[in-house]
Each structure stands twice: as C-alpha cells, then as structure tokens.
C-alpha cells in the first residue's frame, strides 16, 4: 500500500512539471473517448435520468390501465411487457447506473485519488450500458412483442417470448459485463489509490458501502449471466435445464435467479445507505454515530444476502426444513438493518439540524425505508407470506424500499453534490417543492397497494374485480402525481448546470471537515488530487 502511494505521489509530482494541464476535448469526442471519472460519472447520471423517465413512463401506462376496472387502453400482453420492461429498466438502467455514476464522481474525490484506477475500462463499461439498453428497447418492436414474462424471466413462460428473447438476454449480458467491469474498477481504485493516511476504517461511508456493493456485483452478476444463458440454450439449442420433460426443473431457474436477485436488492440499497450516512451527519452537524458498527452492519447485510434467496419463492413447494431456514435467516437481516436505522437516528440526536433539500430526502428515506423494512419483516414469515406472496402487498413492499429508499437517496445525493459538480447553487425553493410533491405522491402511490394486496389483489394483472377499484384509483393518482413531479427535478438540474449563484468549496455550512470532496473548489476542476492529500487518521469519515 505505502509503495503504491509513494509511486502515486511521485507521478503527481512529475505531472506538475509537464506544464500542460489539459482540459476536456471539444465536442462529441469528449464524451465518446473520455477517460475522466467526472465525465464518465456525468454520463452515467444523465443516462440513468433518461432511463428513469422511460421506465417511469412505462409505469404510467400500467397505472393508467389500472385507473378503473375494465380494459381501456392496452392489450393484456402489452401490459405484461410494460411491467416487465419497466422493472428491467428501473433496476439495471436507472438505479444501478445512478449509483455507479455517483461512485465514479465521488469515490476518487472522497479518497483523494486523481481518477479511477482503470479509466479506459471505465469508458468501455459506460458505453456497453448504452448498447445494452438500446437492445432492450429495440426488443419492444420485435415480432411477438417485447419481453412479457416479468423481470424475473421465469421459464417456461419466458421461453414463449418471440424474437425479443435473444435481444433481451444479450442486453442483460452486456449490462452484466458493464456492471462487473464497473465493480472491478471501484474495488481496485479503493484498494490502491486512497490518500496516504486514509486507512480502511477512515474511509467515508459512501466509499465503504460501494466497496461492499462491488464485491456483491462480482459475486452475483456472473450467476445471473449463467441463468439467462441456460434460458438461451433451452430455447435455441434443445437443452432442458429448466424443463421437467427432459429431466430438468423450472424451479432450478428460480433458485439461480434469486441467488443473484437477493444480493441484487442490496446492490441497489447499500450505496443508498452510504449516501444517507454522508448527508445526515452534514446537516445534523455531528459525526456519524457508530461508524464502526455501520461498517460491520453493512458487511453483515451483504453476507446474509447470500443465504436468504429462497424467501422470494416460498410457494414453490419447499421442504419444511428449507422454509424454516430461509425464514429465520431472513428475519436475521432485521438486526443489522435496525442497527443502521438506530445509528442514523442517534446521529440526529442532540445534533443541530437544518433542512436543506438533501437532508429532506435523507429524512424521507429514513422514515419510508423503515416502513419498507417492516413490510419486509412481515413477508419473511412463511405462513403469512403464503397469503402475501405475488400480491400487491409485495409490490408495495419492494417499491417502498426502492423508490423512497434507493431513489430518494440518489436524489438526495444529487442535491448534496450538484453544487460541487456544477459550481452553482440550485433553486432551493424549487427543490423543496420537488421534495414535498415527491414525498406526498410516493405515499399516495404505494401505501394503498398494501391494502390492495391484503384484500387479495394479485400482482401483474391488467384488470381486476371491482372490489379493488377504489385503492387502485388512489394509487394511479399518486403515480401520475409522482411521475409529473419528476419533470421539476429535470428542469432544476438543467437550470443548475446552466447557471446560478456560485457555490463555495464547502457548499454546506455543516460539510466542513466532512470529507475530502469539500476541500477542492466548486466546480471540481477537471483534474483533482494530482498530488495526494494527506489524511490524518480517522478524520475524514463523517
């Protein structure tokens, strides 16, 4: 480690004598060929915002059809395509790339590194993602329609997909390769390029959560790639991995899928934990409570995520012992998750809290993610899960952890670091309006779905019995309110990029001594930390 930092310091030193501190290239070449972590981070974030709007529009098609009972707008097959592609886009195109974009921008700034360790691979992994989602969106126009089997792609149903199947699977392969490369890059950067004096247990929480997330990605993305490749050979080359007629087992796919799928859930939420652990201390003007236990809790959650997968499939007919094991292991996750929630609360306790937009989103995260955690505990209990499974209760549960959970944290991160990226303060009043509209509508949208599920409405149906009509209408109103509110977010970012009051280096009153990113000017120069800063033990984590 020390040898590496010496080399780095030396390289930085030599560079200063080079005398050409070149900026970005001009025009489109800058974006196609860039190896700069800030450019690539920006591209990831913009890409994710576009995907968020596309995936969100698909959700609005779903909510529009469900506004009243009866079929008014779309064919049931197209409805299934919308739910399927909405999920694939939101998971792999919106949430994951947003966290990768934040990681790209902030990890080098937070550990005092000049860039990511593998800059060309960084560029490649971004552009692969563009190829992946072009394929996925093209698959919508294939004969036989887009993928319509749910994002979980369960066989045998998924094998009934038309020409969209190979496109969707290849899209997943490319997105997976992109994620693996991104993860390798992050691990190598964090392990080798920290500023002198920044020990592992002195890293900011965002860096820690991303490090653990990156290991999860490397562990499970190949598993998913394997599962979808088996689908491909079953479909085109006559293998029968998932067909009982040939000695295979359709449930085998579900086990493989969820062995990937459960860690995937944490791949989306752990960076969000890191973001919230950055924001709350800044605006409570107090150090993060229980830093060490936060790190250990994150690691425990990551470990547990590998041994709970079958709780997504309790109704497939498992042996009693299997059901018991997966129930108890799943319940255990509540313990480290509880530690995180309690520690965030303790960070605010006796702090000096102010309520700028990033803090508002972090607070909403704290309340609403916790609600998603409670419903998560409920669905872990096997006997009652037999009732909840595949109903709107599940839809409500995972949207609570993903939308006011992961997505709110990402929005909080954008509001937190946007002045650092652009050098401008944004319109605080507009940001507050965006927050309140989002926070209210997200509950109007998802809370009634708990009631629908308990009353017996299955998920993934385009039409329903009239007893479910009332709450569906409320939920759809919330959906359109939430969706339209996001246009404010886009407008606000666009305006902030174009101009605004100049931001200081520290940006936030409480950010002083809360991380290396606040020691560089705003906007952060194209090249930062050519010479590594020196960190004195334990001072830099918030």
């Amino acid at each position: 480690m020390s040898a590496t930092t010496d080399t780095l310091a030396h390289a930085g030193h030599a560079h200063r004598h080079d005398d050409h501190h070149h900026g970005p290239e001009k025009g489109i070449r800058r974006w196609l060929t860039t190896t700069n972590h800030k450019d690539i981070g920006t591209m990831y974030l913009v890409f994710s915002l576009i995907m968020f709007l596309i995936g969100g529009s698909m959700a609005l098609v779903v909510r529009a059809e469900l506004f009243v009972p009866g079929m008014q707008l779309v064919d049931p097959g197209f409805f299934n395509t919308m739910t399927t592609v909405h999920a694939l886009i939101m998971v792999f195109g919106a949430v994951m790339p947003a966290t990768v974009g934040l990681g790209n921008w902030m990890i080098p700034l937070q550990i005092g590194a000049p860039d990511m360790a593998l800059p060309r691979m960084n560029n490649f992994s971004f552009w692969l993602l563009v190829a992946a989602f072009s394929l996925l969106i093209l698959s919508l126009f294939m004969p036989g329609g887009g993928p319509a089997s749910g994002w979980t792609l369960y066989p045998p149903l998924v094998l009934q997909t038309g020409d969209a199947l190979p496109l969707a699977i290849f899209a997943i392969h490319l997105a997976g390769a992109s994620s693996i490369m991104g993860a390798i890059n992050i691990i190598v950067t964090i392990m080798n390029m920290r500023a002198p004096g920044m020990t592992l247990l002195a890293m900011p929480m965002f860096v820690w959560t991303w490090l653990i997330t990156a290991y999860l990605l490397i562990a499970v993305m190949p598993v998913f790639a394997g599962a979808v490749t088996m689908l491909l050979t079953d479909h085109f080359f006559g293998s029968t991995f998932f067909s009982a007629a040939g000695g295979g087992d359709p449930v085998l796919y579900q086990h493989i899928f969820w062995f990937f799928g459960h860690p995937e859930v944490y791949i989306m939420i752990l960076p969000a934990f890191g973001i919230v652990s950055e924001i709350i201390p800044t605006f409570a003007r107090k150090k993060l409570f229980g830093y060490d236990s936060m790190v250990y809790a994150t690691a425990s959650i990551a470990f547990l995520s590998f041994i709970v997968w079958a709780h997504h499939m309790f109704t497939v007919g498992m042996p009693l012992a299997g059901e018991m094991f997966f129930m108890l292991a799943t319940m255990l996750i509540a313990v480290p998750t509880g530690v995180k929630v309690f520690n965030w609360t303790a960070t605010m306790w006796k702090g000096s809290i102010s309520f700028e937009p990033p803090m508002l989103f972090a607070l909403a995260f704290l309340f609403l993610f916790t609600i998603g955690g409670f419903s998560g505990l409920m669905v872990a209990i096997v006997p009652v899960d037999f009732q909840y499974h595949d109903t709107y209760f599940i839809v409500a549960h995972f949207h609570y952890v993903l939308v006011p959970g992961a997505v709110f944290a990402i929005m909080g991160a954008v509001y937190y670091w946007l002045p650092k990226w652009t050098g401008h303060m944004y319109d605080m009043k507009l940001a507050r309006l965006h927050f309140w509209l989002s926070a209210i509508f997200v509950n109007v949208l998802f809370f009634p779905q708990h009631f629908l599920g308990l009353a017996g409405m299955p998920r993934r149906i385009p039409d329903y019995s009239t007893q479910f009509a009332d709450w569906n209408m409320v939920s759809s109103i919330g959906g359109f309110g939430f969706g339209l509110s996001q246009l404010l977010f886009v407008y606000l970012i666009w305006r902030c990029v174009r101009g605004g009051a100049p931001a200081s280096a520290v940006v936030w009153d409480g950010a002083r001594s809360h991380g290396l990113e606040w020691t560089v000017p705003s906007p952060a120069p194209y090249h930062t930390f050519d010479e590594p800063p020196t960190v004195h033990g334990g001072e830099m984590h918030s």
């Binding site: 313990v335 309690f342 605010m348 916790t370 209990i381 006997p383 299955p458 009239t466 479910f468």
Partner: protein, 264 residues
C-alpha cells in the same frame, strides 16, 4: 404550485363520486374460513402490531430529534459519536423480538405442511388460461374457465361497465365443489407454464409447476362460495383465470358428485 393542487382536488372529488359505486375500501387480510387461515390471520395481526409498536417508538424518537435539535433554534451539536452500551442494547432487543415472532410462526408452518389424514383428494392442473379439477378417487374431472359474460366484458374497450357485473372477473363456468368440514388435500400441477392456485379465504396458495406435483390442504368449516385467482404470472390472460370454490354440506356434495359421475 396551483395546478398540482387543483389536480389533487379533482382526484379527490372523483374518488368521492366513485366511492358509493364500489364501496370497498378493504384494508386488511381476510380472516378466512379454515383453521389455518385463522392462524395465519392471527399471526399477521401479531406481526403487524409488533411492527406498529416498534414504528411508533422509532418514529417518535426521529420526530422528536427533528423537532428539537434544530439549527434554526440555535441547538449546539453534541460531540459524542458512539456508545457501545446503546449499540449492544439495540442489537439484542430486536433479536429477542424476532425470537418472540419466530416461535408462533414456526408452529403454524408445521401445521400447514402436515397434509396427513385427508378425506378427499382433488388434483388441480393449471393451463393457459384455465384450471382443470380432478376428483382423483372418483374419476370425475372437468375444466373451469372464466364465465362467458365476464370474458366478453373484459375485452379491450368492450363498452360493458364492469360495475354492472357481479363478482367481475371472479366467476367461472364450473366451480370446484367440496364438502364442508372435511380435510381436503389439493395436488397441484400445470400443463404448460407455472401458475399458482390461490383462495385467500383458505389461507393458502401454491405454485402449479409443469412436471412436478405440489400439495396443500384445507378444511373449510363454513359453507359458501370462495373466490381467488391465479397468482403466478402465466402469460397474456394471467388476470383472467379465477378460482371459484363452492363449499357445501356433506350430503349436498355427495349428491352433486353422484350426479356428476352419471354425466361423465
């Protein structure tokens, strides 16, 4: 600022207008009509109230902190950043609560998985998009599909108002008929893709998987008609393959079965 408000007001007005027509603001799980469904309901309420109690405590602390320790009120931040005692406490207490919940959950689970001593076996096969019911010991079998009137009404832009149809989408041509108060074992499989057979009032759902046979059991102790749906995405018409079960007194069931046998 004005237009979202107006949209919200419009939505609320629309809701109030719609409410008397549907009048079904159901909030909670149904208690159901089997011993298992009642156990499951009890377990559901227990966990729900435990969660509510924890939520009240945790949210109270959060709200108090947000309301009290405000920069705008001149609050000075404290310097502490950990407390081993507090962290040990809020690790151990959740573990105890989990154990408290796991015990009744495990007990109910054992009962659910014990299908011994059943008096009647029905084999259920899922097809895209209908169910087949087979009374294994009696050689009676038939298909059960969405009722014709409902099928017409659910077509895209059919012009039929769903509110004019009773039990919209939850009616079939041939319901499954079972005797009241008898332990019934249901064997579940599928012929094409995975489906799931679910009747909320019986507390159970199980996947119907091609090439494999799953089982569940129920003892319905109240006569009546119970409705459910396919609960695993099975293609285009997944939303249109309801499950309808008629629970009738023993004598009535025997008469029905005898009549059914002669028509086969």
């Amino acid at each position: 600022m004005k237009s979202p408000k107006r949209a919200l007001a419009g939505g609320v007005a629309l809701l109030l207008a719609g409410a008397p027509a549907y009048a079904a603001w159901d909030l909670n799980l149904r208690v159901g009509v089997t011993p298992l469904s009642r156990d499951i309901y009890g377990l559901h309420m227990l966990i729900l109230w435990v969660c509510v109690a924890i939520a009240v405590a945790v949210f109270a602390v959060m709200i108090y902190s947000v309301a009290t320790f405000r920069h705008s009120k001149g609050a000075a931040p404290a310097a502490f950043d950990h407390s081993t005692a507090a962290e040990v406490i809020w690790t151990i207490i959740p573990v105890l609560i989990l154990v408290f919940m796991a015990i009744p959950a495990a007990r109910t689970l054992v009962a659910i998985e014990d299908s011994s001593g059943s008096e009647l076996t029905v084999k259920v096969t899922g097809y895209q998009w209908k169910w087949q019911y087979e009374y294994v010991e009696h050689g009676v079998s038939f298909f059960s599909t969405l009722d014709r009137r409902h099928d017409v009404a659910r077509q895209l832009a059919s012009g039929v108002d769903p509110r004019t149809i009773d039990n919209y989408l939850l009616e079939v041509d041939n319901p499954l008929v079972v005797p009241q108060g008898v332990k019934i074992r249901v064997l579940i499989t599928a012929a094409d893709v995975i489906h799931a057979w679910w009747v909320p009032d019986f507390g159970m759902k199980k996947d119907a998987i091609p090439g494999f046979i799953n089982e569940l059991w129920f003892t319905a102790d109240k006569a009546g008609t119970y409705r459910g749906q396919c609960a695993e995405l099975c293609g285009r018409d997944h939303g249109f393959m309801p499950v309808v079960v008629e629970v009738v007194p023993r004598a009535e069931f025997d008469a029905w079965l005898a009549a059914r046998k002669t028509t086969e």
